[in-house]
Symmetry: C2
Subunit: 194 residues, 2 copies
């Protein structure tokens, strides 16, 4: 257990790599990571086997964090599935307003990692599946007639927010998407009302 003790080389490497890959892309050099982490070259290869291993671990760690963040956001919004789902879009509005927001880390990774066999792709795919399940679970609780399709639509809106947030943040894409999200959720109302 390294909790509470000074962060070791492994933690420092992950933190530096997470930061640098987001701000400078997956093409960042190993030397730059080592320098920011203040870690010896050898330690990287001891802990992660190489650059790809480090990048994969960064993605694994980040997806776990972001998944937990989705859960936290929804839990903070109460029990009503509608509130819980819309809270996600309010949270995304905050995310893309972060001063150093640079778009979706996972889409950037998929676009940057040219080799389709790179282990990173499996990680980002699993992440999207998990988020989809999270959304679908709420839609089922909401009584939505097509929770799977609706979850896909919400995910599409999220992708759009993150893309537009990176390129045209001044258009407030999260607010625009929230309105469309409400329409998706209201499909349930149309069915239950009749």
């Amino acid at each position: 257990m390294s909790t509470r003790t000074a962060p070791g080389p492994r933690e420092r490497l992950l933190k530096a790599a997470k930061h640098l890959t987001y701000s400078h892309g997956m093409g960042i050099g190993v030397d730059a990571v080592l320098k920011e982490a203040n870690v010896a070259r050898r330690s990287l290869y001891e802990h992660f086997g190489g650059k790809d291993g480090l990048l994969a671990e960064v993605l694994r760690l980040s997806t776990a964090e972001d998944e937990a963040r989705y859960r936290r956001t929804m839990d903070a919004a109460g029990q009503d599935p509608r509130d819980r789902l819309l809270a996600v879009f309010d949270e995304l509005a905050r995310v893309i307003d972060t001063p150093d927001f640079r778009g979706c880390r996972y889409l950037a990774a998929d676009l940057a990692l040219t080799d389709p066999a790179h282990p990173g792709h499996a990680i980002t795919r699993d992440y999207r599946d998990h988020v989809h399940q999270l959304l679908e679970h709420e839609l089922v609780a909401l009584g939505h007639p097509q929770p799977g399709l609706a979850a896909g639509q919400l995910l599409l809106l999220i992708d759009g927010i993150l893309a537009a947030g990176a390129t045209r943040p001044e258009t407030h894409p999260a607010a625009a998407a929230r309105e469309l999200a409400e329409h998706i959720l209201d499909t349930q109302a149309r069915f239950t009302r009749r």
Copy 2:
């Protein structure tokens, strides 16, 4: 005028760079481009001043082509603004089903070009402005009460389609987005009916 004559080094460079930057990212090496274009090293620096100049010209050329493609798609759909706008989403469904589709070239460029001062960013920004104008123009013709905001929403859907199409094409994001697009357009109906 080089029309109809064998393509010169400049054209060959642009074609090779366009292809390779899309399939292998902006980080592709100059050597690989020169090899695919079958062009001498020196010619690249004569025509474009360097790698950045070549990349910028590729983006300029591509945006012009894609802009023309939007116009062509809408013109082929007739005069009704509603048909013209929805045709865009049908066309996007075809685009992301292309076997070698790899996501939006311009979003990938913005994410890959780390330096915010890179000339490529200005080009992608102008491109999005032009597409926004194109959409807004149709929305005005449709009598939409908030054509600017609605165009932003449609653009958000387009971003979402291209992102989801690159990462989860099996979910048919274009069809999912088309339904949401219809809702955006129908906002007009709600207003004109009263």
